[in-house]
């Protein structure tokens, strides 16, 4: 009975989505106040129904209701409760429900944080979001109902894929989806702006904090996914150019271009068309990502679904939303007036160039991801496109981007003087090259060329960033007071750019200087590797809730002093008979020591892989810095609505008096 209630509330949510999308959109066009006023309450009602539905699925997982086919396929009585909870989004149907829930969380946030915006605009934004929700609810109800019953009811479930039984999978998908789906807000703002009769740039200011927030979630989500792959897959890799990873990386590339372009539109009134196009593009890529992952056209570690009807349905959704919005764009774009003028040598030029490079990078990833599918569909052969291809084409595209980034932050808006710029750059360029090459010559013996390129790129970004800060304070008398006046979004930019350079350092060093060995070990054996001594102290048998494991305990010493003790497990998950490796990792600021237990070779020896991965943490540290930078930008006073600003003035006066 309870699962049917969950199904029923989904249908009610769909009904709400229809009302939410039709009346407010019509109302905004014919200026009907009653219709527009429906937007907020109906959106909240839809949220309410989706939440009930979601919690019913959670509840059914927790009580092991195997009469539901989805739960029977993805859970088991032996599964600990927290994995039964995260199993809700462990496969196709449930992850779609999560998608819709998160879309509704974004919508409800819009209903609360849009009080300073004109009624007709909010009605349109909420209306468009209702349309998206209706599309996905239809998709769920017709092709992927999570509450479908199964008969006869199995005694126990088939268990959750052991790969997904991990803390990383409890948090990675919701964060990533917050990012993916968050671009629907930017999309809805862009559509609402296009539907508006007098299109100015105020929408850009309204859209900016939402877009930044979505970008922050996507950044963190991708970093989390990379970290999860690193410790869970047991190969010490952190990025595989897997189609599913690419599906999340493409919206990130466009999202990054978008937050920069939005900033320029907001501040300087330029790139209006381009920003609108990027907003549409970012959401289109989120939908495309959903299509690639959910349709089963790509078989990869992450792909769960193989039902073609689902693929066609998502493709239809994609066609309707992207096609529709592009048609609207094509009609409206020519009427949009170009904004402020700028000269060739200006920050605008570099922003635009990098925007274009992000687009090219995204198209390259897209090409590499779908090329094998197209070739196969056209019967032109079966090929694989993997990491060697992406590394070969991606780096040349990103290199000029790094150069322009550095030039952009130190160039003035509107126009700059070439001669003055060269003088400014003189010392910066020399010191970047000098420090970069010195570091590489002193610390690295091999792969010096590749390493120095990466280190110089990172130095160029961080030094130009610091220099732009210096330029800002240069002529101020009271430096401290000037620092306090500088808007938070500027500090956000500094931090995010530094995060990017930290990320580049991590990627460069860990890719070029990681070493590993593969050895046979029995208890008592010691291996010398990378100036550490690894001693296999013990092999223990462990019995988990739903697996059996052998744990290797390895003492790591350097010059006879114990540094750490690594524990790595080889697990066999009993329900699915699947083996899994739990890596033993000693994380450090400048290096990780990573161990994964292989297979038993005879009654007493096991194969063991050891990895020394320098600076690998910097990849995720850099991502976190970028996310904090984004957060600082959101907290900028610029986005507080007029009402709140008044309030804060009153509060300040009270404090003063």
């Amino acid at each position: 009975m309870i699962p049917e209630l969950g199904h029923f509330t989904l249908i009610l949510a769909l009904a709400m989505a229809f009302i939410q999308s039709s009346f407010p959109l019509v109302g905004a066009t014919i200026a009907n106040q009653t219709f527009m006023a429906l937007a907020r309450p109906v959106a909240r009602l839809q949220f309410f129904f989706v939440v009930i539905s979601f919690f019913i699925l959670v509840y059914s997982f927790l009580i092991n209701d195997f009469s539901i086919s989805y739960i029977a396929n993805n859970s088991n009585t032996l599964l600990p409760w927290y994995y039964r909870f995260s199993a809700v989004w462990g496969a196709h149907e449930g992850s779609l429900l999560l998608w819709v829930l998160i879309l509704n969380i974004w919508t409800i946030a819009v209903t609360y944080f849009s009080r300073g915006l004109p009624e007709y605009f909010v009605a349109r934004v909420i209306g468009v979001m209702g349309l998206i929700s209706a599309g996905f609810l239809l998709f769920m109800l017709f092709t992927s109902n999570p509450f479908e019953r199964i008969f006869p009811i199995p005694l126990d479930g088939a268990d959750l894929n052991p790969l997904l039984q991990d803390i990383g999978l409890i948090i990675h998908p919701p964060i990533l989806y917050m990012g993916y789906v968050g671009f629907s807000v930017a999309f809805s703002f862009a559509i609402a702006a296009l539907l508006d009769s007098n299109l100015d740039t105020t929408w850009a200011r309204w859209s900016r904090p939402w877009t930044l927030l979505a970008w922050i979630f996507l950044t963190l989500g991708i970093a989390l996914g990379s970290w999860w792959a690193y410790y869970e897959l047991g190969w010490g890799g952190w990025w595989f150019w897997d189609p599913v990873e690419n599906a999340s990386f493409m919206p990130w590339l466009i999202g990054t271009a978008l937050i920069h372009s939005l900033a320029a539109t907001d501040k300087r009134g330029i790139f209006k068309n381009w920003t609108l196009l990027l907003s549409i593009c970012a959401f289109a890529l989120s939908l495309l990502g959903t299509f690639l992952v959910r349709s089963g056209v790509i078989t990869s570690v992450h792909a769960f679904a193989t039902d073609p009807t689902r693929g066609i349905f998502i493709l239809l959704l994609l066609g309707v939303f992207v096609g529709g919005s592009l048609v609207l764009y094509a009609f409206r774009a020519p009427t949009i007036k170009a904004g402020g003028k700028f000269k060739l040598l200006s920050r605008e030029t570099f922003l635009l160039l990098n925007s274009i490079l992000f687009l090219v990078a995204m198209l390259t990833v897209l090409l590499g991801t779908i090329y094998p599918l197209i070739i196969e569909a056209l019967n032109l052969g079966k090929i694989s496109v993997g990491a060697p291809y992406f590394n070969a084409v991606f780096v040349p595209i990103m290199s000029p981007l790094v150069v322009f980034l550095g030039l952009g932050v130190i160039t003035k808006w509107k126009q700059d003087n070439l001669f003055q710029l060269l003088i400014k750059l003189r010392y910066l360029l020399i010191s970047t090259l000098f420090i970069g090459i010195t570091i590489v010559l002193v610390f690295f013996e091999n792969h010096q060329l590749k390493t120095s390129m990466g280190i110089i790129a990172a130095l160029w970004i961080s030094l130009t960033t610091f220099y732009s800060f210096y330029l800002r304070l240069q002529n101020k008398k009271n430096k401290l007071a000037a620092m306090l006046i500088i808007p938070r979004s500027y500090y956000g930019m500094l931090l995010a750019h530094l995060g990017f350079s930290v990320c580049i350092v991590g990627i460069t060093i860990t890719s070029n200087h990681s070493v590993d060995i593969h050895e046979r070990m029995k208890i008592g054996d010691t291996i010398e590797f990378s100036n550490y001594q690894f001693n296999l102290r013990d092999l223990k048998e462990i019995s988990g809730p739903n697996y059996k494991a052998t744990e290797a305990i390895v003492d790591v010493k350097k010059n006879e002093t114990l540094i750490t003790t690594l524990r790595s497990q080889k697990r066999i998950y009993t329900v699915r008979d699947m083996p899994m490796t739990e890596a033993g990792i000693d994380a450090g600021f400048t290096r990780d020591i990573y161990m994964s237990l292989g297979e038993p070779l005879d009654t007493e020896s096991w194969s063991v892989r050891l990895y020394h991965k320098p600076f690998v943490r910097w990849i995720w540290l850099g991502s976190i810095l970028m996310a904090i930078g984004g957060l600082l930008a959101i907290l900028d006073k610029r986005y507080r609505t007029a009402k709140q600003r008044k309030k804060s003035i009153i509060v300040n006066n009270e404090v003063v008096s």
Binding site: L357, G381, G386, E519, R520, L539, K548
Partner: protein, 134 residues
């Protein structure tokens, strides 16, 4: 160590050895160059039975067989081209993660740079327009 547990576990693991597991014996090389060549090759070759993993990452028996073959070829001083040619002859281009430049991959390899040129030209036109009409 608990012998009884191992006596249960090891047959289980060997059972897997026949199905999805293989002998994970570490390999040894006479010199560093060969070792580097071997590991680089593993990154370039796709495991044919896995969904999307290179030979370096795969646990499948076929991957182990291929690793052994590559090991033998590296040890008998064959160069990368000879080894990859051998694999392509047997399994087709699908086995390579770096697709060879051919008629059907022309667009794949030159596409990104074509896109780059087109995009930059459009960018230049847009910037010129911004500067031009005052």
């Amino acid at each position: 160590m608990n012998k009884r547990f191992m006596s249960i576990l090891i047959p289980i693991l060997f059972f897997y050895a026949q199905n999805c597991f293989t002998n994970d014996e570490p390999v040894k090389f006479k010199n560093i160059l060969q070792e580097e060549q071997y590991y680089n090759l593993l990154e370039e070759v796709r495991c044919l039975v896995c969904q999307n993993q290179s030979l370096a990452d795969s646990n499948a028996p076929l991957a182990q067989d291929l690793r052994n073959e590559i090991y033998e070829m590296v040890n008998s001083k064959k160069n990368n081209n000879e080894i990859l040619d051998f694999l392509v002859k047997r399994y087709g281009d699908f086995v390579l993660y770096r697709p060879p430049l051919k008629k059907n991959t022309w667009l794949l390899w030159f596409g990104p740079f074509l896109i780059l040129i087109i995009a930059i030209s459009i960018g230049i036109i847009v910037i010129k327009k911004q500067i031009g009409d005052k």
